[in-house]
Subunit: 361 residues, 2 copies
Amino acid sequence: MKIDSTPKKDGFRMPGEFERHAGCWMLWPIRPDTWRLGAKPAQKAFSEVASAISRFEPVTVGVCAEQFQNARNMLPPQVRVVELSYNDSWMRDCGPTFVIDGNGRIRLVDWEFNAWGGLDGGLYFPWDLDNLIAMKVAEITRTDRYKAPIVLEGGSIHTDGQGTLITTEECLLNPNRNPGLSREELEDYLKAYIGLEKIIWLKRGIYNDETNGHVDNICCFIKPSVLALAWTDDPKDPQYEISAENLEILQTEKDARGRTLEVHKLPLPAPVLISEEESRGVDIIEGTLPRNPGDRLAASYVNFYIANGGIVMPFFGDPKDIQAKTVLEELFPDREVVGISAREILLGGGNIHCITQQQPA
Amino acid sequence: MKIDSTPKKDGFRMPGEFERHAGCWMLWPIRPDTWRLGAKPAQKAFSEVASAISRFEPVTVGVCAEQFQNARNMLPPQVRVVELSYNDSWMRDCGPTFVIDGNGRIRLVDWEFNAWGGLDGGLYFPWDLDNLIAMKVAEITRTDRYKAPIVLEGGSIHTDGQGTLITTEECLLNPNRNPGLSREELEDYLKAYIGLEKIIWLKRGIYNDETNGHVDNICCFIKPSVLALAWTDDPKDPQYEISAENLEILQTEKDARGRTLEVHKLPLPAPVLISEEESRGVDIIEGTLPRNPGDRLAASYVNFYIANGGIVMPFFGDPKDIQAKTVLEELFPDREVVGISAREILLGGGNIHCITQQQPA
């Protein structure tokens, strides 16, 4: 049922991703103007992600009617497949944000979704079905639902579950999201609907990230007061200045409980560019972001998913894959780190964190 | 997961509808060649049925993407709405048959569905989406699934949950269902997949029933060894001979445990005919059964749903409504009997039992 209140008023908060999950939600990629070769390589990659996560927690994949049987056949039997229609397959961004209270009750927040910018720089049109996903997940799970009156994607926020949120100005203050709201008004909404006391504003996200700099591609919480930040040591890379600027903010900020922050650098892979062949495999549609050969993709190891007892992270076929995996193994000593070849997901404009959404226990 | 065995082998059986339920499944009517005026009056009637049943047990309604928001708005908030695609909305017939074992485990049987006769007298074409409903319900409920290799609709069978099945020759032996199978071979499949010892064969169903005489419109179990049979006292009604023939069978048969059967007559309403106006409201489509003015509809009070603590029965605006309700109140002294104006469901070719499917507890 729809609740006309806010999570904060009712004693609910969004937990950290590192807290215990009931499971994970995903969607099945289909659109040929996002995913090359009729989305067939992406479907294989998504299946591998779902399969890896299902080793740690229950996974549900939403699939449109036309692809139901193919998805059911490609996904392992322990992954649940439910019918859902959508415009694209980024569950993190169009899906719900789950919140919990002290009595173990669960509800969800249904944000407005406008495909990363609506008619002003959004990535495709229309986005009507994406905007119903959170409501449909609420129905399937019989979860009560808050409808938040602001545009927000799940990938643009990370929380420590203890009152602190990190986000980026590049995305949340972009006039193509909530143009009528000041920073303070936006903060009030975030505090009310996520259950927060403090918001830490980073400046920009990964270079050339088509989401307008989602935080989940550049920085995340490992646990309260400990973060990972995407990093390059190459001062000629335009990413260098972006990461350095964010590091400086994190080194001077404190979290909601007054703690200083411990920041770990996670190396970036060498720049990943769209090939001629990859570009040719994508349908060209008016209103959809084109995929041009030579364009730099927003590749980052920060875009991993934290599961119960596991980390599922992207690999890019780069020597840094193993280096990044080692960093995560040290940061998450109690979790098994699994790498998945993620180039086909990256070609669509995001990565493993972008295509997943945790449901807390 | 799909199980390559049979319920009987694994110790599972289909319980009687009067046993305890976990809930009820329905689908949302849409097709304008079945339902008049764009299915709007039928949607109202289905909503009233869902609403009535939801007073007694949880209800889930499967809705196609296009009608999701309208269904969500028309149905009461306690009814769960999930996305499902289908060709029409007869959950009893295209949906699963749930089976349980002695340890309270639940599984389901996924029958072949061919729209009541396939290309040889079936009611519409195609039926591909209907045939996936049972699999999709298995996914949503995370229930293991048997795939039965025979054509069968849920409305063509009733069980006492103690080894006895009633069905009709008119339907199950119709060459448009399983033409390659003898009566004995068919019995073996029914016994294996429903968990039975004995099948009682009635002859024909309600006069002019487009399902080829589904048993659920003419006869049902009130509890083991006690049945209700649709009845008319008018010897000039073609229904008279049909009901009398079935009564004679029931009076001489015994159930799987050797008990004689107690049969209660449930009066039929006066013949219900399609009006000129009702006929005009239905789209005419090649391959779909036409709805001609003056055609007699298969109206029967036997087509009720047994819920936990409740009976939801059809009313036809006939003086017999109250008489039939009184009979059911006497037969079900521990359940509240609720009547729903069901003419709009009947116009589509079935009634309340045909549009529902219980999930046992």
